[in-house]
């Protein structure tokens, strides 16, 4: 039975001021609408320019249901194309990334395309003479997506025509990406190291919400971070320096008061971040030589300002999280209502000491890997929620912590760090972008 398709009003009724209906997490029809509308109406991250250093370099991306190719053209520009031959629909590339040379060549009938998608040649072309091919859609080549924006090497697309501009969609929230880039003495990041890929048996939004959930670490991670702290306290050799791994784990056991004081900043359109005044990343040991490099590049005052900004998790709605002080980016890729692939990527700060990249990689494997004990704690909770939501006892999920009547979603504000406001902010954006896309193009993309 179609309850939500062609029914924006029913979809909108799933999100209340302080609670959301369980169908946002478990209903396959709602999931289908997300794929067709939410991921078409918002600016979605598809990759980083450092993954495409040479002309002809490409990578595969999926936005909603759409298979895409992100490619560096011969003139240096970045193009994003649908990964579909205009002839028979064959996927042009299947590898996650590679170099195609000067052109793409379909492996089925050898139609070939320039790296900006334009049709280059068709074998035995005389077979199309007087057939009117020039009028056919196929002659246009690999279709580009409607909107591409490269912001300081971060590549975003918006599949729908119309809707919000890149600048309007992200606004001031880009400051978190800026801070991560500014942490390089040369002002440049490169993606390095294989991404850690982790399959989750839960809805993708549970993961996004958890990025700004500061009331779970001391509870859910008592088993991992708590054990790390107690083992270190018991086994440390007197006078020994706290190892990097213990520095990574132990702040997860910070008190409620610490997280309250950390603060949360919300931005319009569902973006927001934890860690305004301080964060769990603020007390890492200094890396020898780094401050000197930063001072030489930026001057002491600006260098300090950059490094004193210790934002914890920045959620870019709908589905990425950026961690500036650690230089990681996580993408929450929805596969089904109850299945999510998480890819956790690592950046090297160009020109900075190796030890910073070592810490980035260590953080990623300790916290974001399928072998991560912190990850095990979290996934257990998501999967239990996915199961528990089947109970008919109460169809509503509560997001009420530190709610204030009349709360607005079109403002930038700093609030108590244990507020669930950023989750409410996300759901407001969720319902608003799906709704506007459904109303403009009811059938979907």
């Amino acid at each position: 039975m179609d309850r939500y398709r062609d029914n924006p009003a029913a979809l909108r009724a799933l999100v209340r001021e302080t609670e959301v209906h369980r169908d946002v997490y478990i209903d396959p029809e709602v999931f289908d609408l997300e794929m067709r509308h939410l991921f078409a109406e918002t600016w979605v991250y598809v990759g980083h320019a450092s993954q495409l250093p040479e002309p002809g370099d490409y990578l595969a991306a999926t936005v909603g249901y759409q298979p895409l190719l992100v490619v560096r053209h011969s003139d240096g520009s970045i193009h994003v194309l649908y990964n579909r031959c205009p002839h028979k629909g064959t996927r042009i590339t299947t590898e996650p990334c590679g170099n195609t040379g000067k052109f793409f060549r379909c492996p089925y009938h050898a139609w070939s395309f320039r790296t900006n998608g334009k049709l280059l040649s068709i074998p035995l072309k005389k077979g199309y003479e007087h057939t009117g091919l020039e009028e056919a859609e196929a002659v246009e080549g690999l279709r580009p997506v409607a909107n591409v924006h490269v912001y300081r090497d971060f590549v975003f697309v918006k599949l729908n025509e119309g809707g919000q501009s890149f600048e309007a969609f992200f606004g001031e929230s880009l400051s978190s990406i800026d801070n991560m880039i500014d942490r390089s003495p040369e002002g440049r990041l490169v993606i390095e190291g294989a991404p850690l890929r982790y399959l989750h048996g839960c809805n993708w939004k549970m993961l996004v919400e958890n990025q700004t959930d500061t009331c779970h670490p001391m509870v859910a991670h008592e088993s991992s971070a708590g054990t790390a702290v107690s083992v270190w306290e018991r086994e440390q050799v007197e006078g020994a320096k706290r190892p990097m791994a213990v520095e990574v784990y132990s702040p997860f056991m910070s008190s409620y008061e610490f997280f309250e004081g950390m603060g949360i900043r919300v931005w319009p359109n569902g973006h927001g971040h934890t860690g305004v005044a301080t964060s769990i990343h603020a007390d890492y040991s200094a890396v020898p030589g780094y401050m000197e490099q930063m001072t030489a590049s930026y001057g002491e005052e600006r260098a300090r300002r950059i490094l004193d900004e210790n934002r914890h998790n920045t959620v870019y709605f709908p589905n990425i999280m950026v961690k500036g002080p650690v230089q990681t980016l996580r993408v929450f890729i929805p596969l089904a209502a109850d299945k999510t692939l998480v890819e956790s990527w690592t950046f090297r700060l160009v020109g900075a000491p190796d030890m910073l990249f070592e810490r980035t990689l260590m953080y990623n494997r300790l916290i974001n890997a399928p072998t991560s004990i912190v990850g095990h704690d979290d996934l257990e909770m998501y999967e239990r929620a996915q199961e528990g939501l089947r109970a008919d006892a109460n169809p509503w999920v509560n997001l009420q912590r530190l709610y204030q009547p009349g709360e607005r979603h079109d403002v930038t504000e700093v609030i108590n760090g244990t507020s669930e406001r950023q989750m409410r902010n996300q759901f407001h954006a969720w319902v608003s972008f799906i709704g506007s896309s459904m109303e403009r193009q009811p059938a979907g993309a």
């Binding site: 708590g226 054990t227 990689l361 494997r365 890997a369």
Partner: protein
Amino acid sequence: MSSIAPQDLIDFVYREARLLDELDYEAWLNLFTEDGRYWMPAEWRQTDPLLQSSLMYEDRLLLRVRVERLSGARTFSQKPKSRAQHLLQAPQIDLFEPDAGAFRTWTSFHYVETRNDVQTLYAGWATHDLVLLEGTLKIKLKRVDLLNFDAPHGNIQLFM
């Protein structure tokens, strides 16, 4: 052991797998040298555990954290507990230098981890760098290369 024979290395690798299958983690941890490491690369033919992406690269402190966590009262991802089983091909000896006290074996394996109603099969190769310490073989480095290191995995909670 006063002198090491090739068969001792092979026996060691089998015994190590058995300790893991029997969930005897205290005995298993004691197989490592003080500076021993357990490494699970995340890249093909990886050479660097620190500046390339790994799934695990852990010293005894971190391994002990894992072991204690597995039996913790509030370790919810172990309610119910996981179990593991190794199927090893005969270990091959890649390095045998008794005078230097340095040995290396290479073992192809299938590994099964199970919890609740879900059982998952992993395949790969284990490389053991072993040393002789006061007459006893110890693990300096256990390297586990998964066949599908690049695939998206669900929870891997125990040790391969």
